[in-house]
């Protein structure tokens, strides 16, 4: 209550700041009304909590074949092994928990790298006219032409054979990050093209605003919304790529990920179907969460749909 009166009596300067805050408040209000978007957010938050604290309660260390020694390999789901065990005695439930941590890390960290590169390249391509802009656009479009997924597989394989095997999941983070940025930079470039021709930017220029002020005050907020949406969808895409990469046998050895579990499960799917089933369901749920979140954000942040 006291806060309210404080705001009411605040000098006009604060009103200005408050207005810029309500843009996000409006978006949040719109987002909250979107049930599927909220469900996506809830799934993502649940998995983040699960990935951070889950391993504290994981029954076994990652990749532990302890159950093999107890004669518990290839067991169907039970109270002791909720998701069953695979042929080497790895507890699928326990490794799924470790996998949640690794998969989320791969998805988010690779997206962070891709977003940073995408922002830098996209901004540069959007701002520079002439030769540099043309070359950057060429590079972006080049990435749309090459079969990215196949090259990701090849890079992972060649790097592990040729350079170093010990990077673990971070190798995958790096490769996915280095291949993931073109889509983002393409959109950013387009947005900057669009925004910089708008009248209020011209007005700012006429008022004598510097390039940096225009960049951070006007261009960045405008570009931020598609970036947030794209990043959320990219996390989903990165997790799917991770799963395929491990399934095809291109992942680093001895890492607990959902893709690795599915790979092991597929080899014996006719005998131990649960090994591929449960991690797969986790993948679908988490990816669904990020996709729903991304779609929800897209709706909430889209000014064209705003009433």
């Amino acid at each position: 209550m006291s806060q309210l009166t404080e705001e009411q009596t605040a000098p006009p300067k604060r009103v200005h700041r408050q207005r810029s805050a309500t843009q996000w408040a409006v978006a949040w209000r719109r987002f909250k009304r979107n049930k599927s978007g909220v469900a996506g957010l809830a799934i993502v938050i649940a998995f983040v909590v699960f990935a951070i604290f889950g391993p504290l309660f994981a029954p076994y260390p990652p990749r532990s074949t302890e159950s093999l020694l107890q004669g518990q390999a290839g067991q169907p789901p039970s109270w002791k092994h909720p998701f069953g065990t695979e042929i080497n005695g790895i507890d699928v439930f326990s490794d799924s928990i470790w996998g949640a941590r690794n998969d989320l890390w791969i998805g988010v960290a690779a997206t962070a790298i891709a977003t940073l590169i995408g922002l830098a390249v996209g901004a540069l391509a959007g701002y520079s006219r002439g030769v540099i802009g043309g070359i950057l656009l060429g590079i972006i479009q080049f990435f749309f032409v090459i079969p990215t997924l196949l090259l990701i597989l090849l890079f992972s394989r060649v790097f592990q054979v040729l350079v170093y095997q010990g990077f673990g999941v971070n190798l995958i983070v790096l490769i996915l990050g280095l291949f993931g940025w073109p889509g983002i930079s393409f959109v950013i470039r387009g947005e900057i093209f669009r925004v910089r021709e708008l009248e209020f930017i011209q007005a700012e220029k006429a008022l004598g605003a510097g390039n940096l002020r225009i960049l951070f005050r006007h261009i960045v907020p405008n570009v931020l919304t598609p970036v947030i949406v794209l990043a959320s969808l990219l996390v989903a895409g990165n997790i799917l790529t991770e799963v395929v990469l491990f399934f095809l046998g291109f992942g680093p050895a001895n890492v607990a990920t959902w893709g690795e579990l599915i790979e092991e499960g597929v080899q014996y799917v006719s005998v131990y179907p649960w090994v591929a089933l449960f991690p797969g369901l986790l993948v679908v749920t988490l990816v669904l969460g990020f996709n729903l979140l991304g779609d929800g954000l897209a709706d909430a942040l889209n000014p064209r749909l705003r009433e």
Partner: protein
Amino acid sequence: MGSLINYIIRRVLFMIPVFIGVTLFTFLIGNAAGNPINLIRLAFKGTLPQNVYLQLVAYYHIGENPLIRYLYYLWDLIHFDLGLSITSQRPVASEIGPWVWTTLYLQLSALALALLIGIPIAIYSARHQHSKSDTTITGIAIFGYSTPTFWLGIIFIYIFSFYLRVLPSSGAVSAITPWWGNWTLDRIAHLILPMTVLTYVQLATIIRLLRGNLLEVLKQDYILAAMASGLKERAVIYGHALRNAITPIITIIGLSLGASLAGAPGLETAFSWPGLGYEFTQAALALDIPTVLGITVIISVMVLVANLATDLVYGFLDPRVRVS
């Protein structure tokens, strides 16, 4: 008409630097270890036969400087000479042909089916926005692009091949006895499961995009004007709204066609479907560099051509594109 020809020439000219970029890129990967032979040797762990080694030295012009080697590579490429596969000892170029065909008929049949089913469903969904069926449709669609294709394939294999035993689990054709007593039916039997999975995934993308586009188009003033002028809703949707909503979809299909040429390596591997994706995976695991590079280059060139075709269709459909 002049603007259209101009547009075509510009698009074709744009392909040249991209083609050089793609070939340079694959060339660099092949030479990541100095030259392709070093990489191939790693796969053989020092047991590369002497005669094969000498052949490779001659083929890759080892000893020349890298620029000359790249030009030789381009020269061979233009003559459709992609070298010998290390694992099969056969020319890569003659091996790739059947793989391209196997991938294409899986991908294209799925795409055609997805378009056939997807467009009416998307229209229905957009016309009945927020209805129960719309929610169900978008729900099913979002599951489609959240599911790893190959994993869905595995589930299907488990249900239909291992449990019900009604459909084959792997390959594009039987080895000895055909399914359903006939070789044509045998191919169809092998196609059903992977095609169904792929159709579902592509259906999801088409519904999602087309529905979104239609919703935006249907809010436009010219739709209101068309409705107000007394046209039937069906005529407005098919005659005005769909045409505007579907052009962006064509771009997406063109782009995804490129991605789908790479095959879904996961899906193809799950079904042991002998297409480009599956064979690339096998070659990359075996470090069969000539095959790997051959597939990459062929796919890239096909994507370039597909993109060009998409651009042309797009320019034909949407006059605004030609001018800008």
